[in-house]
């Protein structure tokens, strides 16, 4: 595969793009704040002694809405893209996306139960109430992935082939149960579920952000350490074993990372498609298949793409807002096609 950009150039470009995305995400929104107010409010939030007169609105918008939203976008984008790389490496299949081991469908099932049956569950302690949907989604994702992983185990070995098929079957099963809940749902719950399936960064607050951030940071720090092992796995399982990689342990780690990362991302922001599948391909098209580059570059690219998509999503229909899942595919897919066509000639 041709390398379009050297790793160093790629990282510099991506970092600049990411900084630009962060800046736009903090500076732009339906409420138009003067640039200087945004800056001053930002400095004040960092604890610097800047005069705070007439800054209440800017501080509120920046501190309570845009900063948590930007952090959420960065974390979710990075984790989804990283999980995508891990999936494609684990299954040695370019079509693998994090949904394949059942995380997404499990999370969607959990969410459907919370949205549609939530009211009749009742008796939730009020402290937990804002988290019910997230907890159900996260648990659903972990549970279904756990089942898929168990089904893939044979005599101490994990067969990725069987895991893949088990994932497809579990996704179908979860889909049919979601269908049943959809049928039982009233109109309002149905709309909520539909929107949840398209994902959003709207309504991000610190309280709901911290659990996700902790999981995401763990995954973001952990996965790139396994870059060499993933490179070896590219050659095939037995080859990797001969190279001294503990393949079973690697698989277990990868599945756990994917389940935790995607589970947390989906629980916080709903199902955001495209990032996990396409961003790794994008990076590989540009930088070649070396996981030592692909992993960190995908994390940066995923975070950047999601932030750009979010800025677009919140501005294009303001004061209403587009679900971000629509935008990621709308921006990303044509760009990906462009790279594909360019690579062919």
């Amino acid at each position: 595969m041709r390398v379009i950009l050297q790793p160093r150039t790629l990282f510099i470009t991506l970092s600049l793009a990411c900084l630009l995305a962060i800046w736009l995400s903090l500076a732009l929104g339906p409420v138009s704040l003067p640039l200087i107010d945004t800056l001053r409010a930002g400095l004040r939030l960092l604890g610097l002694p800047v005069a705070g007169d007439n800054l209440q609105q800017a501080e509120l918008i920046l501190g309570q809405i845009r900063v948590p939203r930007t952090l959420l976008g960065l974390a979710v984008g990075a984790v989804l893209a990283l999980s995508g790389v891990a999936m494609q490496g684990l299954f040695r299949n370019p079509l693998a996306d994090p949904g394949l081991v059942g995380v997404s469908s499990g999370a969607a099932l959990g969410a459907a139960i919370a949205i549609i049956a939530g009211a009749s569950l009742g008796g939730m302690p009020p402290v937990l109430e804002p988290y019910v949907l997230s907890i159900f989604a996260f648990t659903g994702g972990l549970a279904v992935t756990g089942i898929v992983y168990r089904l893939g185990r044979r005599e101490g070995q994990t067969s990725v082939g069987i895991m893949l098929l088990a994932g497809v079957a579990m996704t179908a099963l979860a889909g049919s149960i979601i269908g049943l809940f959809t049928y039982l749902a009233d109109d309002a719950a149905l709309r909520t579920l539909t929107f949840w399936n398209l994902g959003t960064l709207n309504g991000a607050s610190y309280a709901r952000l911290w659990p996700l951030l902790m999981v995401c940071v763990l995954v973001i720090l952990w996965l790139p350490r396994r870059a060499k092992a993933l490179n070896a796995l590219l050659l095939g399982e037995s080859e990797a074993r001969h190279l001294g990689i503990e393949v079973e342990r690697l698989k277990r780690e990868l599945v756990l990372c994917i389940a935790l990362g995607v589970g947390a991302a989906v629980a916080a922001a709903g199902l955001i498609g495209f990032v996990g599948l396409i961003v790794p391909h994008l990076v590989r098209l540009i930088a070649g298949p070396d996981h030592r580059v692909v992993l960190p570059a995908s994390a940066l690219a995923g975070a950047t793409l999601l932030l750009f998509a979010d800025v677009f999503a919140r501005l294009v229909l303001a004061p209403a807002e587009l679900p971000i899942g629509i935008v990621t595919a709308f921006i990303g897919a044509p760009f990906f096609l462009f790279l594909l066509v360019r690579g062919r000639t």
Binding site: G29, P30, V31, S32, P34, I36, D37, D53, N54, Q57, L60, I61, Q64, I65, R66, P130, Y183, D186, D187, A188, R191, T192, F195, T200, N202, G203, A204, S205, R208, R314, L317, A318, P319, A320, E321, P323
Partner: protein
Amino acid sequence: MRSMTKLTAILTGLLFTHLASAQETSQRWVSAGGALTEWVVALGGESHLVGIDTTSQHPESIKSLPSIGYQRQLSSEGILSLRPNILIGTEEMGPPPVLEQLRGAGVKIEVFSAGADVTALQGNLKKLGALLGDEARANQLSEQYTKQLQGQHDWVAQAQLHQSAPGVLLLVSHAGAAPMVAGAGTVGDWLIKQAGGRNLATHTGYKIFSAEAMTGLNPQVLVFTDRAQNGASSRDALLRENPLLAATQAARNNRLIEVDPTLLVGGLGPRLPEAMKTLSKAFYPTDGSLNAKVSPAQ
């Protein structure tokens, strides 16, 4: 640098005095509920509205207001950009984290009932009247509504002396396809009952029925509403997509009545009594003489 800060201070100062004066002179309301928006307008509060959700479709004059999207998928910063003091909506409004952020930003959030019953409506009107500072008018509208319903009730009672209540189904479809049937707890069900019909569907909420099940219930009157079309084309679409319906008494006797889909969303709205009157007349067609004596829902 110093002149720069000075300039910004002046500019922001200007901006904020502008904001402050706008807030002092008028209340700025955002409404996230179709029926509520109609009531605000009916109570003379249209000038307060600065934003509406996608379920607010009536009256025509409010359609030029900025749309804040669907009531369950509100955007905090989007709403804040309209600088409202009050956000009104039903308990369906959400998501909760966004409402929390809005509350934190000093927007007063007033939640109303979307329940399809008169007590809920009276409560809503009372609250709206208090918020708008025109309780007298709210009381008047509330009493008028109750009176209209009472008149309607009397008319139906009279009509039922001559004819038993017809069995009715209310279908909501999209260009005729996969009609959903209104069951208990819906505004549609309430409308049928108030108009003197017997809702043949016994489930709760809206459910998709097979054409066979609908035909099996054999309604005497079909009330339908279409989100995609209206008039003769929606009626044709319904019969074309569901040919079995032609076997029902309703289709054979040509008793298909269309209602406006926006009537059925977000609780009881001000246009319902009018729709009810039309339905009643269609439910009890032989009572032309009665129409002259006790006119319904006046």
